[in-house]
Assembly symmetry: C2
Homo-oligomer: 300 residues x 2
């Protein structure tokens, strides 16, 4: 029997929040449902953040409501305890919190120290454990920070170890700016999987330097079996033409399926989700393999 790879599509959150076009709740649900129909069982569906700062994520409570009764692991991003309370009040049972592997990014993003961010996250995690809410901890800029430079692998190992010890369900190692190379990924992920097992560790890559799939392979070699990706490669900054977003879900699924892993995802239906992402946003570049993949799927 082939091994499974679990893909979480973060397009409806990480992708949509970087678009100039703000989608309605109905449109966001249309995209999420297209992903679910394709067999993408894990989707990051929104965020409970300030609607003034991130208008694209306003109304995530309506998204959760619209998904009630649907089968699927739907997660939402929360920035603080208030976000946690709003999210759980809206029915969320799976939350993502973002930590920073560098001081520079913590200061730039939330104007706090790394330590302050971790203390706040720890309090929410303890609360979530009581509430039996699943907690995913994303360690951002896990390889390199645009402000502080390269990140020491041990920093990431320590943060991951600390939060797993407290009871986090999963650590998502995030190459937020797409700066990692596969040698770094191979080495860091091997250490994390050795310490904590494949169940607790996921990877999140951006394709900025075209090394997205190489990094996915490097992580697979290290035993990682859980990956974030974004439908259509959604997530490129609309103000930097050609800048790449997350690894495209369709590229990642194609590669791991061809390697013999089972994602449970129907690639033809996934292509329909890609089409919808493009139609709704006007800015989903599509995976880098799209020319070949569309021909392979009989779509051109």
């Amino acid at each position: 029997m082939s091994q499974s790879v679990i893909v979480t599509d973060v397009g409806p959150r990480d992708g949509l929040q970087n678009q100039t076009r703000i989608l309605s709740s109905e449109q966001r649900l249309q995209l999420i449902n297209a992903l679910s129909s394709a067999g993408v069982g894990h989707v990051e569906v929104g965020a409970f953040v300030s609607p003034k700062v991130v208008p694209a994520m306003a109304g995530t409570d309506a998204i959760l409501q619209g998904l009630e009764g649907h089968q699927g692991e739907y997660s939402v991003l929360i920035p603080n305890m208030k976000g946690y309370e709003l999210a759980t009040a809206a029915g969320a049972n799976r939350v993502v919190m973002v930590l920073y592997a560098s001081e520079g990014m913590a200061q730039a993003n939330v104007n706090r120290s790394r330590e302050q961010v971790e203390e706040a996250a720890e309090q929410i995690l303890v609360r979530a454990l009581e509430d039996k809410v699943t907690v995913l901890i994303a360690i951002s800029v896990a390889f390199e920070c645009p402000f502080s430079g390269p990140v020491a692998p041990n920093t990431v190992v320590e943060i991951a170890g600390k939060f797993l010890a407290i009871g986090a369900d999963e650590i998502v190692i995030s190459d937020t700016i797409g700066a990692a190379n596969p040698a770094q990924v191979r080495s860091l992920m091997a250490k994390l999987v050795e310490q904590h097992g494949s169940e607790k560790i996921a990877c999140h890559f951006h394709d900025t330097r075209a090394m997205g799939l190489a990094n996915v392979f490097a992580a697979l070699e290290s035993g990682v079996r859980k990956f974030d990706a974004s439908i259509g490669g959604l997530g490129g900054c609309p103000f930097a033409p050609g800048a790449s977003g997350n690894v495209a879900t369709e590229d990642l699924v194609m590669m791991v399926e061809q390697m013999g892993f089972d994602t449970g995802i129907d690639q033809l239906k996934l292509a329909e989700a890609t089409r919808i992402a493009g139609e709704l946003t006007g800015n989903a570049p599509g995976g880098r393999a799209k020319t070949w993949l569309n021909r392979h799927l009989g779509l051109t």
Copy 2:
């Protein structure tokens, strides 16, 4: 001290022969010299094939003449004994012969059986050994053939072993149609490097399914240290818009340098060669990392 990776730019041959625009000898030399200036020590500079069939490669003797006295390992492709004689008469001391890992491709490309192709190549190899001419054997469609389907790894292992035993200097495992996935590459290349060492084995990947760099990393993991690539990603079929050619030299160099390998190549000067390839052909898409790379190099 960092380990070396040797990059052979095949753009002036594999790239240019797939263009609608035919370059003059002066233009071809301009491209080759730009590569040499960037520190690309190995270049496949042309082919001694029928000028009627492949007009872009006509006059490769003038190319060799133009390179006389230049430092660099310049190879030329030869299809048969006549090509060998023309090439060596023109001063070539490094020739590339193409074999086929599938019957379907041998029949389609040269209307002969795999065995006939190998017998002819063997005769030329024996002659070249007497002449002290370096021989590179490219095994094409080494993973999958568009006519015969998947290729059994043992077929490739047998061909490589046979020609290395006779005295070939290097075997180039070529994923001609860009069909390989990194799991296949990891496994086949590990076997070949184990049997023959890193010195004798090279890889040649196309980026059709966006797995080019992932396959390069897989080969590196298996101990491969020699790679073909094509400046600007030259080589996409001009009749299939969006189809990807060889892995772009600039992407490959960027990745392996960031991994800590030494290619001896100056990335800023390489960007100038990319610019020239684009200017001359009107059809060099540039590497997939070009947006980031150009900014990184201060070119935008």
